[in-house]
């Protein structure tokens, strides 16, 4: 008997062991929601759309700052700048450079694709959900997707167009790159849908500045058309924003010569001003990534370059009260180059720096000033130089730009007027992630007719030992776009590296 019992126990043990590798698969997770149970009500749709915006509050603004600024002439390195970042600044760029990772942008694109794919089916389950409401949400997804592809197109040149939701392992696809024209066409068609369906207002100022409205779409359109040198379309898009009458510049210098002391506070410290069109809505519960990246003096990786004060803003050597409000304690702290737009808590006290819990300066995607200057650039390129200069004057007067930075370009010369606009854009949008794209757009216009503009800037910023190499590399226009990251090349066999980096 004992023997039998022994065998029985052994047998039982054996059976348990041999079968222990299998698990009874419970298909549904016990602690989460699956897609089939979601997408039922209009609240679900809203939750996901809001989720897209909150996903943009991660490290995206740091990526956009890096892509938009560090190849330009307005930031410089610190002791904490990483090797990868320095290699980008010195134009020693390889595909293993972490700055070339586009993962967080495509993540947002995928959220947009998910909304586009699954939101329409809610119409069947929630009878209170209207087609108009659906289209409004879809417009937000299309608008953000277009904006993300626009950043990718300007940074990488050609990118794969992922237009369907990656919602399961089975839907992972290998995609080849699409041409710039295809990406552009997709952006334009996304924006057309968004423009036709986006709301004019959410009846809440913070939402109007933090979510896609029709005016945000118009702003993106203007930028895209300007990039693709479709100037009449750009002017049309700008005019839609201007004629809406809903935006205006926050006054800086008043007509009586006094300054509006609240200008910095309104536009940059608090944000969502009347001048704002679209901003990333950081707040004290969700701070931006800039505290350790740009503000904290023991970790910051970039500060403003010496050119910002020396060349762009300059100072009045006679009357120190006469200053450009965007200069010292506007965009930058002149004493050490700290990027004041994100670090500053006051426009009069250089010691009032944001701390880690108050580092919630918004990321400014589009401001009304941008609309005016984009329109000016389009006007300059369509033989309306004087009208363009008038718009520049508006921006300069608001900020009290100094005499030393005033130029009188020949209104009939598009190149001269555009160069002047570029300087003004540098002053107005310092550190807003636009400088490199501005330089590139100005250089590549008319089939790179003005490449020298870019090369002069490179000559200025290159370390002496690398100057000639950098100028030669930038003379090869294929080097203006970043390489595809090595990880993407290894995981997507259909991707081909951009030619300069092959």
């Amino acid at each position: 008997m004992i023997q039998k019992a022994k065998y029985l126990i052994l047998l039982l043990f054996a059976v348990m062991l041999t079968t222990s590798c299998n698990k009874w698969l419970e298909l549904k997770p016990q602690d989460g929601i699956i897609r089939q149970n979601f997408w039922k009500t209009k609240e679900d749709v809203k939750a996901v759309v809001v989720g897209i915006y909150s996903s943009m509050l991660g490290n995206l603004s740091q990526t956009l700052f890096t892509w938009g600024e560090i190849r330009g002439d307005m930031v410089t390195s610190t002791l904490k700048t990483s090797t990868d970042q320095l290699n980008i600044m010195n134009d020693n760029i390889t595909s293993s450079n972490s700055v070339t990772s586009w993962a967080n942008v495509y993540q947002i694109i995928n959220y947009c694709n998910t909304v586009i794919a699954f939101a329409p089916q809610v119409l069947n389950t929630d009878k209170t959900f209207t087609q108009t409401a659906l289209n409004g949400y879809l417009a937000e997804a299309y608008g953000i997707r277009a904006l993300m592809y626009f950043y990718l197109m300007r940074t990488f040149g050609e990118v794969p167009l992922q237009l369907t939701a990656t919602s399961s392992d089975a839907s992972i696809k290998m995609l080849p790159k699409s041409s710039q024209t295809d990406v552009y066409n997709q952006i334009v068609s996304d924006l057309t849908f968004a423009e036709n369906n986006a709301v004019l207002t959410y009846n809440d100022n913070n939402q109007d500045k933090g979510r896609i409205t029709k005016y945000t779409v118009n702003a993106i359109q203007a930028d895209v058309y300007l990039w693709m040198e479709k100037y009449t379309d750009c002017i049309t898009a700008c005019d839609k924003v201007i004629n809406s009458g809903k935006f205006g510049l926050i006054e800086g210098k008043r007509d009586d010569g006094s300054f509006n002391t609240q200008w910095f506070n309104t536009v940059f410290y608090t944000g969502n001003s009347n001048e704002s069109i679209f901003e990333f809505q950081f707040d004290n519960q969700k701070t931006n990534p800039f505290y350790s990246f740009l503000i904290n003096s023991s970790t910051n990786q970039f500060v403003g370059s010496s050119f910002v004060m020396d060349e762009f803003y300059t100072v009045d050597p006679i009357d120190d009260k006469n200053k450009d409000i965007r200069a010292d304690l506007g965009s930058i702290r002149a004493s050490d180059g700290l990027i004041w737009k994100y670090a500053g808590a006051s426009n009069s006290d250089p010691k009032a720096v944001r701390n880690s819990t108050s580092s919630y300066a918004h990321w400014f995607v589009y401001r009304y000033a941008d609309i005016l200057l984009m329109k000016a650039e389009a006007l300059a390129c369509t033989s309306q130089g004087q009208a363009a200069l008038d718009l520049v004057k508006v921006i300069r007067n608001r900020a009290n730009a100094l005499q030393a930075t005033e130029k009188a370009p020949d209104p009939t010369s598009a190149v001269d007027v555009c160069d002047y606009i570029m300087d003004e854009r540098a002053r107005e949008f310092a550190f807003e992630g636009k400088r490199w794209f501005d330089i590139l757009r100005n250089a590549k216009r008319n089939n790179y007719a003005h490449l020298q503009y870019l090369l002069d800037i490179i000559t200025k910023i290159a370390p002496p030992a690398l100057q000639q190499s950098m100028v030669s590399k930038y003379s090869d226009v294929r080097s203006h776009y970043l390489p595809i990251n090595l990880y993407e090349l290894q995981t997507d066999s259909k991707l081909i590296q951009n030619p300069f980096y092959q």
Partner: protein, 567 residues
């Protein structure tokens, strides 16, 4: 029973086996164990015979194959098969076996560095290490028809860069690299444009200095030299139509070989020590020449490198540009560059330098603060040393200099321009040293005075510092906590003190730190090194370099900067 027992035993065995199988069944066995799968250089070349078989053959002939397959840190510029074939064609041979083995050995050495250099370390100039052949390789990026390629030694394009192998880095190149044949002297001589310069080199004997190959040079510091040659047209433009004219103007002793002769010095002033390509010249502010203690200062404006572009006593002396296209010519023992205009050795008399330390480029830009506002400005190293002329030791606490101006404050009111630089000095939390870049000081002997406003942070504070100029210590110590003693001018001067402000307050005083022999006419480094004591309130105002034979006490300074002459 026995049968059953056997059966039982069989079943037992079977079950035991089953259990064993069950225990192991879940594991996967990896059968390959290696520390690394990276191949070394020779094996890498073996893997791609269609590209590297010819170079691989050369390695066999020269006997390098096995050593390049051993561990180490190398950089190899590997010529492709096309490159080797072109090279053979140039030599009139059809296979690598026909080439002299010594030629091949030199060739391999010239393509090999015992260092790992990735392409992101390439600059416009030479690679950081020598090749095994003993000459430097240079790199550049070159744009031809809109396409930019990396060019090595002006001879070969990089086909594929940064191939990582177990013992280093391989860069594949499309031409064989040929070492420079000529010395610097021969390079200049071979070019008929430099006939006057060549003759002057020969007459002064410097031709021989520039003609020794590094391997034969007994002087370690002159193995590599760089010549800045002036072409005949440059010399003509400067008024020298022939060597005779140059000699007539410059040769003072009658013997150009005499190292004190002006012609010799003039020529020696055109030779820089070390192999300096333009990238190296542009990266440093001054170059040591063979003319004893004379330096060339360099400035990069735009893409132009200017020599001796300086402002002296308020007068701008425009510099001589280097001809980029005619420069960076590699020689076996250095580099040869071409100048676009004439440079001369200037004889300057020592001149007094009153250096207001609280006046530097960064504070000058802050027009609302500089000499105007009582707001103080402090700098710390967070921005990667934001000041171009001042550096200090990085401590755990973030500390740097503070600029302070006030015409009312008792700390600054009588200072020169009523402003001072406050230096927190002393370990462990404050920087143990500060370094300042001086203005241009002409070669000569000077007494060094430091003017400060004495202050003690607390009643027991001390702060004792040694000062150094270019690393040479000055004999007396600088104590920021000690007030100036009282006494007449002559009496004070004898004690090494003086009153440098117009105001007679004993808080203000200048301390004589000693006599320094400034060796070169250039900017120098003034260092304050803490010896004992630690406090924040070290109020530095003025540093003076006064030629030893000049009046040391006067002129004094009013707070508005005007001078008080000797009564």
């Amino acid at each position: 029973m026995k049968c059953i027992s056997n059966l039982n035993r069989f079943i037992g065995l079977l079950i035991s086996l089953l259990i064993l199988a069950g225990i192991w069944g879940c594991k996967k066995e990896s059968l390959v164990y290696q520390t690394t799968t990276d191949v070394n250089m020779t094996s890498y070349l073996d893997k791609y015979p269609e590209t590297f078989s010819e170079f691989r053959k050369i390695l066999d002939i020269t006997g390098n194959a096995s050593f390049l397959n051993a561990y180490g840190t190398y950089t190899l510029f590997a010529p492709t098969n096309d490159a080797i074939n072109a090279y053979l064609k140039g030599l009139g041979k059809t296979s690598v076996d026909q080439v002299d083995v010594n030629v091949l050995k030199d060739m391999v050495r010239f393509h090999l560095l015992s260092d790992t250099i990735r392409s992101n370390q390439f600059t416009d100039g030479k690679l950081p290490s020598l090749t095994m052949y003993g000459q430097y390789l240079i790199t550049q990026a070159k744009n031809v028809g809109g396409v930019t390629k990396i060019v090595v030694n002006r001879q070969a394009n990089i086909v594929q860069a940064d191939i990582s192998v177990g013992n280093g880095i391989i860069h594949a190149i499309d031409q064989v690299l040929i070492p420079a044949k000529y010395s610097v002297a021969q390079l200049i001589e071979n070019n008929p444009k430099y006939s006057i310069f060549t003759q002057a080199l020969k007459e002064t004997g410097l031709y021989d200095t520039l003609n020794i190959l590094p391997a034969n040079n007994p002087n370690q510091n002159r193995k590599f030299l760089t010549a800045l040659a002036e072409s005949d047209s440059v010399l003509n433009a400067a008024g020298f139509s022939s060597y005779a004219a140059l000699k007539a103007r410059l040769c003072t002793t009658g013997n150009p070989k005499d190292p004190t002769d002006s012609l010799f010095l003039f020529m020696a002033y055109h030779i820089i020590t070390d192999a300096k390509y333009l990238a190296d010249i542009a990266s440093s502010q001054s170059q040591v020449t063979l003319a004893p203690l004379e330096v060339l200062t360099t400035t990069l404006t735009g893409t132009t490198i200017l020599l001796n572009d300086i402002t002296f006593m308020g007068v701008h002396e425009p510099g001589a540009p280097i001809d980029r296209a005619g420069s960076d010519n590699s020689a076996a023992n250095g580099v040869m560059h071409s100048l676009l205009s004439h440079i001369v050795l200037k004889i300057r008399k020592p001149v007094r330098v009153d250096w207001d330390v609280a006046d530097f480029p960064e504070i000058r830009k802050m027009t609302s603060i500089f000499r105007k506002s009582t707001t103080t400005v402090a700098w710390d190293e967070s921005a990667g040393f934001p000041l171009s002329t001042i550096t200090w030791q990085v401590t755990k606490m973030v500390f740097g200099p503070t600029y302070s101006w006030s015409s009312a404050s008792s700390i600054t009111n009588y200072a020169l321009y009523s402003d001072i630089l406050i230096l927190p000095i002393g370990g462990p939390n404050r920087p143990a040293w500060f370094e300042f870049q001086t203005p241009l000081i002409v070669r000569g002997k000077y007494k060094v005075w430091v003017g400060y406003r004495n202050q003690k942070q607390s009643s027991g504070s001390t702060n004792v510092n040694q000062c150094l100029v270019d690393g040479v210590p000055l004999s007396k110590l600088l104590e920021f906590t000690v007030p100036r003693p009282t006494g007449g001018d002559a009496e004070l001067e004898a004690q090494g003190w003086k009153q440098y402000t117009a105001n007679t307050s004993g808080y203000w005083g200048a301390r004589l730190l000693g006599v320094i022999d400034i060796q070169t006419t250039s900017t120098h480094i003034f260092r304050i090194q803490n010896i004992s004591g630690s406090q924040n309130n070290n109020n530095l105002d003025l540093i003076q370099f006064i030629p030893i034979n000049d009046d040391q006490v006067y002129p004094r300074f009013n707070p508005d900067g005007t001078l008080v002459p000797r009564p």
